[in-house]
């Protein structure tokens, strides 16, 4: 394990210059190993190492030297949007030496042609897949790929996309792959035709322990043999407080949102005597209360918690809220975050101690909704322990409730190998989507060429052949592809579905719904959209189920399924439909959150998905030539996107006018953009001088664009 000073590293001057400005003086052992393994020769490389070991810098060196020496473009792909923006911000440093850094994510039905002027493009796997489907011209200039967090390939939902992007990348240029430790690293490296570089080095040493209760004492048994006892009632709280009162920060993982929230409140009752920067926290509180993307109750609850130095964190929170919490934790204003395991997968948020308070986690997809956390997940969570620059060492502690499980937990998390990555293209939904994706970027293909590309997947060859045959048959039967003399190509429908980034099964559900529809019932359409595999999922209680079925005021387009699991999806889709309908009926956000017991993060996720699905439904109807439905579907889509009744659609087209402002001025008699331009004083009196003036100007611009 050696360090190397920047000057002795042999890196080109333009790299040294930028790194020095960042305050980097030497390369750490992970980075040195990468250099020694051929980073500067741009060999295909799979680097597995713990979190926070400086992998991003390795990727930067690879990308920048490749662009500088070989020309072309580099693409950096991450599994999460938040990560993509974080990386793009970091990479801005390279603009100093003349490289342009671009970021693209979200919005699947476009080719982002403007990116032709950029050198480094940061994106997500889904977005890159969709860019391939749109045959973006600049993609052929990309000759260096960084695939970040490749271990996501094992994720049931998203693994298929990541694998298909990896297949494309290795066909098009040099590939640098970054991953957490995986069980079958050698197999993956071979599959990627890459040199395997495994580094075990961590910037802050990690101590692992299990914790359990023994009488009135709490016992911590460390992996290195040490045993520590502390007295207290609740083990998780006691240990967390022990760390906090010694000046450290804690991340606690709980299996469900509810548990995370409850624990945060319990912990906050005990932080009265912790030294907190009250003035700074007061500012954090103000920021929270001013958030526009959160419900009132959520804001008030969180504001009172942060004043105690504690917060909870889960996907039900709005993005703005999560960002404030993460930022305040990084600034060490918050002492503890209680989170669901999703946080471990996301942004880098190190803490002195990580407490894994449940050895199982909530998963809607498995029987009983509980599944044990995997060794991979454990490593992800434990890997957050130890904050470089602040902690001498990190501690990862698993709380074991049942002492019978003690030995089992120790042997599972401390001794077992991390699970291998397995291909997720094995599900019909992912594999068929993969076929569409290849056909849309490659055009017409002979069956054997298609098989050749598909065989580059991690799936066993025999399975690929079987899935491909079944897939082609299903896709042909349902009108997505045509097969003529062994040559396969997309039909107009198939090509549109691929561009829309819609799963073929989703497209099929929508297609059948469109064919069944003989009246324009919003709820029925929204239900069909939500019922597709691409639709958002929510929890439905028995009481809600009865109420919804009671309130149903038109015939649904999907028949009630017999299967119990399918019925659950059916009801979830119905709830999503009701939520979306309240949204387009301009119900207050606070009302919706309370009525359906969801968080603002959930509402955002639902609306984003329904926005895209309603857009896709419109385009499917168009390609299926159902012209009588187009007007209704376009309006429905626009209303979902903006959350308004039909009468406001004219006003919300103007930038800066959302559902609330539109309603305000509409009720005062300003009904369309022309009215804004004609009544500037009235608009200013309603929206305030400064904003009013801006809106009047934008309305003017909007109208002149229309007439041009």
């Amino acid at each position: 394990m050696k360090w190397l000073s920047l000057n002795e590293s042999g890196l080109p001057e333009y790299i040294v210059k930028v790194l020095s400005r960042r305050g980097i003086t030497s390369l750490n052992p992970a980075q040195v190993t990468a250099l020694e393994s051929g980073l500067l020769q741009w060999k295909n490389m799979l680097i597995t190492s713990p979190t926070a070991s400086g992998k991003t810098l390795i990727a930067e060196i690879g990308m920048v030297t490749h662009i500088k020496e070989r020309g072309g473009k580099a693409v950096y792909v991450t599994p999460l949007r938040a990560l993509a923006s974080e990386k793009a911000r970091e990479f801005k440093d390279w603009e100093e030496i003349g490289l342009k850094v671009g970021l693209t994510s979200g919005e699947y039905d476009t080719d982002d042609a403007y990116l032709k002027d950029y050198d480094i493009i940061v994106t997500t796997y889904e977005k890159l897949d969709s860019l391939y489907r749109h045959r973006a011209a600049w993609l052929k200039d990309v000759n260096y790929f960084v695939l970040d967090e490749l271990h996501y390939m094992g994720d049931t939902d998203r693994g298929g996309v990541i694998e298909s992007v990896a297949i494309r990348a290795k066909r098009s240029g040099s590939v640098l792959t970054l991953s957490a430790t995986v069980g079958n690293a050698e197999e993956i490296a071979k599959w990627l035709r890459a040199v395997l570089v495994s580094v075990a080095w961590r910037p802050v040493p990690l101590r692992e322990a299990v914790m359990y209760k023994s009488g009135k004492q709490i016992v911590l048994e460390y992996k290195d043999g040490e045993v520590r006892r502390i007295s207290g009632d609740d083990p998780v709280i006691t240990y967390a407080l022990d760390v906090i009162y010694k000046g450290g920060q804690v991340l606690i993982f709980r299996s469900s949102r509810r548990y995370a929230e409850t624990l945060a409140f319990k912990l906050a009752e005990r932080t009265t005597f912790v030294k907190l920067e009250k003035n700074e926290l007061e500012k954090v509180k103000e920021r929270i209360l001013e958030l526009e993307d959160s419900g009132t109750e959520e804001k008030e609850t969180m504001a009172s918690l942060v004043m105690k130095g504690v917060a909870y964190h889960h996907a039900g929170l709005s993005r703005g809220m999560r960002e404030i919490i993460e930022d305040s934790f990084r600034r060490r204003l918050l002492k503890a975050i209680v989170a669901t395991p999703t946080l471990a997968a996301g942004v880098n948020l190190p803490a002195r101690a990580v407490i894994i308070a449940d050895i199982s986690r909530f998963n809607r997809r498995v029987l009983g909704y509980r599944e044990e956390i995997s060794v991979t997940e454990y490593r992800q969570m434990a890997g957050r322990a130890g904050r470089p620059g602040f902690d001498r060492e990190g501690e990862a502690v698993v709380f074991v409730r049942d002492s019978d499980e003690l030995e089992y937990v120790k042997s599972k998390f401390w001794k077992s190998e991390v699970e291998p990555i397995q291909s997720r293209l094995g599900s019909e939904a992912s594999f068929y989507s993969f076929i569409l994706s290849i056909l849309s970027s490659e055009g017409k293909l002979r069956k054997e060429d298609l098989l050749k590309i598909a065989s580059e997947s991690l799936l066993p060859h025999v399975l690929v052949k079987k899935y491909l045959n079944e897939g082609l048959e299903w896709l042909e039967d349902h009108g997505f592809i045509r097969v003529v003399d062994d040559e396969v190509s997309l039909t107009k429908l198939g090509s549109r579905v691929s561009d829309l980034y819609l799963n073929p099964f989703s497209a099929n559900v929508l297609k059948e719904a469109l064919e069944n529809a003989d009246e324009d019932c919003e709820l029925a359409y929204l239900h069909a959209m939500a019922y597709t595999p691409d639709g958002p999922v929510v929890a439905v209680s028995k009481a809600e189920e009865d109420e919804m079925l009671d309130e149903l005021d038109c015939d649904l387009l999907i028949g009630e399924p017999y299967d119990e699991v399918e019925m659950e999806n059916y009801l979830s889709a119905l709830k999503v439909a009701f939520i979306t309908r309240d949204w387009i009926e301009e119900k207050e956000e606070d009302y919706i959150l309370k009525k359906y017991s969801i968080g603002s993060g959930d509402l955002r996720t639902i609306i984003d998905a329904m926005d895209w699905l309603s857009y896709s439904t419109y385009h499917l109807a168009k390609v299926l030539e159902m012209d009588d439905k187009l007007d209704f579907l376009m309006k429905l889509h626009e209303r979902v996107a903006e959350g308004v009744k039909e009468e406001l659609l004219g006003l919300v087209k103007i930038k800066g006018i959302g559902r609330k402002r539109a309603r305000l001025i509409y009720n005062a008699g300003i009904r369309k953009p022309e009215d804004i331009v004609m009544n500037p004083e009235k608009v200013k009196s309603l929206l305030g001088e400064k904003l009013g003036e801006q809106i009047v100007r934008r309305a003017g611009e909007f109208l002149s664009n229309l007439t041009r």
């Binding site: 009162y245 010694k246 009752e269 005990r270 009265t272 005597f273 030294k275």
Partner: protein, 248 residues
């Protein structure tokens, strides 16, 4: 040679202080300074912060130069001291690695216990601004709390309104309210604005063993602020307890 030697003729009070501390903390550091003996700490649940000060003049003998710290296990110490009576005097003297305790009354007893390294916890400043303050005689408070305990309550709501202090003890099934004011004689002094907070009864009750050692006390609190109980001791000494509020 002794580095430190202090002596009090009121052994019982000293033992009560140690026993009270032992309700909250297993080990403490006795901090002998030139001004007097200081003891501070926080309980394992981090709900109660304790600050004890017994000035030099509280003791009948106080022979300390500079500052000397001695960590002790309170369980061991209070076990040794369980038999003291009101006629006993108590002396503490410290050597390098031991703390010697001498009890003198009807007969003479001497013990030596090891001095411990107690992990020190950084304690925050407690210069909080409390909106309400009241003074009362210690038995008034301790009797009320003991009554609440008999009732089976688990929390007490402190509420100040118009200079009156209302204590309401409750649990899921019981409730009892007591009103104290300068008018009804329950309080010696009261000042400040209206406030309301809830504190755990168990923590309150664990402080009341000081009823013999302290004659009067002061209560301060505020909405969502800790409760500060100051048990006043002779010669300007005090035992301060800051109890964190419960969320409701």
């Amino acid at each position: 040679m002794d580095i430190v030697r202090v002596k009090t003729v009121d052994a019982v009070s000293m033992v009560d202080i140690f026993k009270t501390l032992n309700e909250f903390i297993p080990e403490v550091t006795l901090d002998f300074t030139e001004e007097g003996l200081k003891i501070s700490g926080i309980d394992a649940s981090k709900v109660v912060l304790i600050n004890v000060f017994l000035p030099k003049s509280y003791f009948d003998e106080y022979d300390v130069s500079g500052e000397e710290k001695a960590g002790v296990n309170l369980e061991d110490l209070t076990d040794l001291l369980s038999g003291v009576t009101k006629n006993d005097s108590l002396a503490l003297s410290g050597e390098d690695s031991t703390l010697t305790i001498e009890i003198e009354g009807e007969y003479y007893r001497k013990f030596a216990i090891p001095r411990l390294q107690v992990e020190s916890v950084e304690l925050p400043q407690t210069d909080l601004e409390f909106p309400f303050r009241a003074k009362l005689i210690t038995p008034t408070f301790t009797e009320i709390i003991s009554g609440f305990e008999d009732l089976g309550a688990d929390a007490v709501r402190f509420k100040s309104n118009d200079g009156k202090l209302t204590l309401t003890a409750y649990s899921d099934v019981v409730e009892s309210t007591i009103e104290l004011s300068t008018e009804n004689g329950g309080l010696l002094e009261a000042e400040g604005s209206d406030a309301e907070s809830v504190y755990g009864l168990e923590y309150l009750a664990n402080t009341t063993r000081l009823k013999r050692a302290s004659g009067s006390m002061e209560i301060r609190f505020g909405t969502q602020l800790p409760l500060k109980l100051r048990y006043e001791m002779p010669q300007g000494g005090y035992n301060d307890f800051y109890i964190a509020p419960r969320a409701e």
